[in-house]
Amino acid sequence: MTKISLTVNGKSVSAEVEPRTLLVQFLREKLLLTGTHVGCDTSQCGACVVHVDGSAVKSCTMLAVQADGARVTTIEGIAQGGVLHPMQEAFREHHGLQCGFCTPGMIMSALDMVNRLGPILDESAIRENLDGNLCRCTGYHNIVKAIAAGAAAMGANPTRAAAE
């Protein structure tokens, strides 16, 4: 077992983990943060995307021990006091989900996109940057619309823009 200490959604967490524990297993099974999903477990689908030190990573393809000392943000960490984050609100408003399985990863990838590229995102940039996120339901159109709208809302209201 290896001892790790990290910050998850703003709270300090310490735990003993087996080195082979994946970050996603640690989040879901130890911390019971089950919003982060495992869709493929083969690094393809992006349902498991979380932010580590501010950038999007596939938490099924990172060990919990590698996150020692890091700042992790999951889908549970972005709403504030019961008010949805503008990106979450945009997914609801634009019907950017059906079964919802891919949605946590989509939203965390969308926030990473805004962090990197700013709040004005055109359709082709959004589609290109969703390369690592698969959805089996929506056909993507409404996800793309939701991300454009959510990004614009973040730009219009910068105090609610930060994901962490």
């Binding site: 080195p19 083969t42 950038s55 596939k58 393809t61 060990l63 021990v65 990473d112």
Partner: protein, 266 residues
């Protein structure tokens, strides 16, 4: 995944000592290839030696005409680095075409080169640009480094510290991505140097990345997209799998080469 131990050295020399003293050690860089391999139980290391907290291994610098990229530098950093854009814009563009954003945030140039996947992108750049791999014990020219499918000149306990790229003439990389995996079905890196044209091809060769000498000769004689018209890659030397047969990949190679030449401006 089988169980393993975990070590996180702070100095590259300690990583090398661990590679010598531990049972069945394996270096861990970004984990974007190694962790999927471990999940499939295709390897059973005793200890993973995590390179991520060795400060000397990451970072990008330019000294004279040489661009130096630390082994642990993530693809995303290479893709967005001003230094790389100024020195070797085609290299920055290539890094931005690897996988997807989350993979680029973790995967490293050292891990990609050490892995030498026959469909990986960086090997084409290293070979075409005449890169030098700096390890803990020697300097290896890219032309001596790649030794076939997933094979390199690295010794069991050898650590890549950095990769050095000399300043080149105009260059471009064009890749036809496998739509599912994003790896190259055919990726062609063309450099128009003072001493001739170099063309490196990935995703195609049965022995991994290679220089397409015929295309180099044709383009050195006349640098124009249609200079490639009369030549063809032998389909029997091209990989054939469920994603595409040899003839398809050979044709795709020519198309990507032509597009790279067009991008440079022939």
């Amino acid at each position: 995944m089988y169980a393993f131990d975990y070590q996180r050295p702070s100095f590259s020399q300690d990583a090398v000592s661990m590679m010598r003293s531990l049972e069945e050690p394996k270096l861990l860089a970004g984990g974007q290839t190694l962790l999927p391999t471990l999940k499939q139980r295709l390897a059973q290391p005793g200890t993973l030696v995590d390179l991520s907290r060795i400060p000397d291994l990451s970072g990008i610098s330019v000294a004279g005409d040489v661009l130096r990229i630390g082994a642990m530098t993530r693809h995303a950093e290479v893709a967005t680095s001003d230094l790389v854009h100024a020195h070797s814009p085609a290299l920055a563009e290539l890094a931005g075409m690897i996988g997807d954003p989350a993979v680029r945030n973790r995967g490293t140039i050292g891990g990609s080169l050490a892995n030498n996947d026959p469909s990986a992108d960086y090997p084409a750049a290293a070979l075409a640009l005449g890169a030098t791999l700096v390890t803990d014990r020697r300097r290896l020219a890219a032309s001596d480094f790649f030794r076939g499918l997933f094979e390199t000149a690295l010794e069991e306990d050898e650590l890549i510290l950095a990769v050095e790229f000399p300043k080149s003439g105009p260059a471009a990389y064009r890749k036809f991505r496998n739509p599912a995996s994003r790896y190259a079905m055919a990726g062609v890196f063309v450099v128009r140097g003072a001493d001739g044209v170099r063309v490196a091809v990935t995703g195609v060769g049965q022995e991994g990345v290679f220089r397409w000498k015929e295309a180099e000769a044709a383009l050195t004689a006349r640098f124009a997209p249609d200079a490639l018209e009369g030549i063809a890659l032998d389909p029997h030397t091209a990989m054939s799998d469920l994603h595409g047969d040899g003839a398809y990949r050979a044709q795709l190679t020519k198309v990507m080469a032509r597009r790279a030449v067009e991008a440079i401006g022939g």
